[in-house]
Amino acid sequence: MSQFFTLSVLTATLATAIKFAVPYLLASLGETIGQRSGVLNLGVDGIMLLGAFGAYYTVLETDSHLLGLAVGLIIGLLMGLLYAVVTVFLHAQQGISGIGIFLFGLGFSDLLFQELVGSVKPVKPLPTLDKLPGVGGIFEPLVDIDILGPLVFDHDLMTYTAFLLVPVVTWLLNKTTFGMNVRAVGENPQAADSLGVSVARTRFIAIMFGCVLAGLAGATLALQLAVFQHNLTNGIGFIAVALVYFGAWQPRWVMAGALLYGLVTATRLRWQSLDIIPQGASDIAAMTPAIITILALVLLASRARGPAALTKPFTRH
């Protein structure tokens, strides 16, 4: 245990935790916007998988991370379109349609991977600041700063984007007319409708935000790991949905949840590599993040009330 509590190991673990938190954070911030408008999307994991494969395959073929992320974003947009049409315009049950989206994403991403790639072929990972082409040199000395360097400056651009999105989403929800409409249609769509707020349009846009971020979350995950394989996300999208409840639909608490999850995962991996957790117990250890989530949800379940119209399709009469 003592080899874990050294400054360098703790710092490295924390830095890993921040990196691990990124896909969770992106996906759950998007899901927060969707849920605040009254739409639950259980298909996040499937959209992440498609985004992940799209980004991975693009980088494999073109070597461009930017293009890869753009493909992930566009896949999120297309899946959002599908989900929005099904839930908002066709009034389908959100729980069932979300699971459908997940199963489609899981199967289709694997099929494409088998057909187009076949075996595990690594790509180059998302570069950290100091490895950015052209400007990387500026950041090189910063990375060497004690503690602060690895924690703050040794990350890729998607990590900064994800954490920057926390205040942006908070602002969007609380300070813009769109955010006000989102909160209103998630709580009392009849009231919003009676004042001329289009419930369908508001939810449509909120779903788009959510799915674009899910696609980006998948793309980021694949490019951080620099590989793709069957079921790469391994349930991250579902955890992201749970984190929205954990975070009581508030971006900053959702971020806290994502960080906690990243920390638990990073600590577990570190403890396994340091043999603090015996090899035979690693399956049980692998369950800790899930167990912590369940416990947190149980303990916090009664704390906050979600949007009143969550999962309820809206029709005028």
């Binding site: 007319t177 909160r183 009676s194 004042l195």
Partner: protein, 502 residues
């Protein structure tokens, strides 16, 4: 005189099998209150839905300020300066007052909200009409009266020249009603036109400048308070002579049948809802429990009925202690219960009339043959009840949810009174029920009283309490704050007690 703000000419609207509006005409001038009076199904809401563009009339026309108006949606109506205060408020509880008012309106700052500017205008509107409310507070923190003010502000903020209020007093205390009427008077003084929809006759007489009475989709009278009386309005509404207050024959007060001592009950949120209540109810009396909704009446009724355990105290029916009883034990002891939420707690909507009539006693031998239902016996029993209680239903196998509120209530009453109870708890027995059905339900309660049943009648309608009760208890914040004999009770005094100022 300038053109009326609104004229509705010869409006006719049919739905398959129903003539909802038949050649209805009426108009509203600036600065007047025009009341639409009528029973449920008389055509008031269809007429208002046509005004708000939710329905298009089959024939007839709508003129706003003398100009032909083609209204296609509620938003369109708002743009044409017609506002509506719905009976069920159209507010988002988690948003602030200012946010609720700003919803749907373009912001002066483009994408960003301009709530400080909105709040300023709300403050000036509040001041002008005496509608005091804090723009920065979330709706869920406000009282019902304050929420209604927010609804009015929403309409005024959109420069409404015509405001429709749909049964606005249904949820208010008598004092809040007075406050509302002062506000409405201030609005008419500022030339706003008001359509007031109500079936509370004394309020209609007090507030209206003109009255239009509707029945079965037709106008049955245009009148003014000076030319008419409550009795005449009721007769116009129902189409026959109505007894507004039932005749109550004198009854000798019997023994105490229901006795509550120190009853304390927790509400759904875990807070104390009923606080140390003592009550005695005698055979042959109606004890009226008055109070604004949410002051513990529902929890008290549920505790007596065995649906909600008491935290402390005792509930005794004759010699049986019911403090820890379940509903079956309460019923076995002689208790019947007509709950306030009739479709949620009183009847199963998808069940047919006979199934609902048999909900309690379907296990009795008289309805069984060889352990299976004896449908002949069931049918004759249910037919008897339907006839006795004048339930208007196409058949015994009609789904109960398709009946009117009054007839559903009659089904529940028939079932509850069939067992000849010792004690009857009736919560809001005529809420949302037509005058005709209410008259019948009242006569049944009086009949039970004559038969020596001890009756607890919980009602938010003070006229109902004053018309029926022998003694009146007022509940406020879980306590009985006042208990008086009917002959010593006045409306003002009860109203003050309901607001906690008695």
């Amino acid at each position: 005189m300038s053109a009326p703000v609104l004229q509705m000419h010869n409006i006719t609207k049919t739905f398959p099998g129903v003539l909802a509006n038949d050649d209805v005409s009426f108009d509203v001038h600036a600065g007047e209150v025009h009341t639409l009076l009528g029973e449920n199904g008389a055509g008031k809401s269809t007429l208002m839905k046509i005004l708000f563009g939710l329905y298009q009339p089959d024939s007839g026309q709508i003129l706003l300020r003398g100009q032909q108006a083609n209204i296609t949606s509620p938003t369109d109506a708002i743009e044409k300066r017609v506002g509506m205060v719905h009976q069920h408020f159209m507010l988002v509880p988690t948003l602030t007052v200012a946010e609720n008012v700003a919803l749907g309106l373009p912001s002066s700052r483009g994408l960003r909200t301009d709530l400080d500017a909105v709040s300023e205008r709300i403050a000036s509107i509040s001041e002008q009409y005496g509608l005091s409310v804090d723009p920065g507070v979330e709706i869920w923190k406000l009282s019902v009266g304050e929420r209604q003010r927010v609804e009015i502000i929403k309409a005024l903020y959109r420069d409404a020249e015509l405001l429709v209020l749909d049964e606005p007093t249904a949820v208010l205390t008598p004092q809040e009603v007075d406050d509302l009427f002062v506000i409405l008077r201030q609005m008419t003084a500022a030339d706003t036109a008001i359509i007031f929809i109500s079936h509370k006759l004394h309020e209609v007489m007090e507030l209206s400048d003109r009255i239009t009475v509707l029945r079965n989709g037709r106008v049955t009278g245009h009148t003014t308070p000076a030319e008419t009386s409550r009795q005449q309005l009721a007769d116009l509404m129902v189409g026959r002579e109505v007894k507004l207050a039932p005749d109550k024959p004198p009854v000798d007060l019997g023994l105490v049948r229901l006795k509550l001592r120190g009853v304390t009950v927790k509400g759904d949120r875990g807070t104390i809802a009923v606080d140390n209540v003592d009550l005695d109810v005698h055979a042959g009396e109606i004890l009226g429990v008055a109070g604004v909704s949410g002051n513990g009446q529902r929890e008290l009724a549920e505790t007596i009925a065995g649906l909600r355990p008491a935290e402390a105290g005792s509930v005794q029916l004759d010699d049986t202690d019911l403090s820890k009883a379940n509903p079956a034990q309460s019923r076995a002891a002689g208790l019947s219960y007509v709950p306030e939420e009739r479709m949620k707690d009183g009847a199963v909507g998808e069940f047919d009339v006979s199934e609902n009539l048999l909900l309690i006693n379907h296990g009795e031998k008289r309805f069984l043959r060889n352990g299976l239902f004896n449908f002949d016996a069931i049918k004759s029993h249910c037919q008897q009840l339907v006839d006795d209680f004048a339930v208007k239903t196409p058949s015994l196998s009609t789904p109960t949810s398709s009946l009117s509120g009054g007839n559903i209530q009659k089904v529940i009453m028939a079932r509850e009174l069939e067992s000849s109870p010792a004690v009857l708890v009736a919560a809001q027995p005529t809420r949302g029920v037509d005058i005709g059905a209410a008259e019948y339900i009242h006569s049944q309660l009086v009949k039970q009283r004559s038969d020596g049943v001890a009756i607890v009648m919980i009602s938010e309608d003070l006229d109902e309490v004053l018309g029926l009760a022998d003694r009146i208890a007022v509940m406020f914040e879980g306590r009985i704050v006042k208990i008086v004999d009917r002959e010593n009770a006045t409306k003002d005094q009860l109203g003050l007690a309901m607001a906690g100022a008695g």
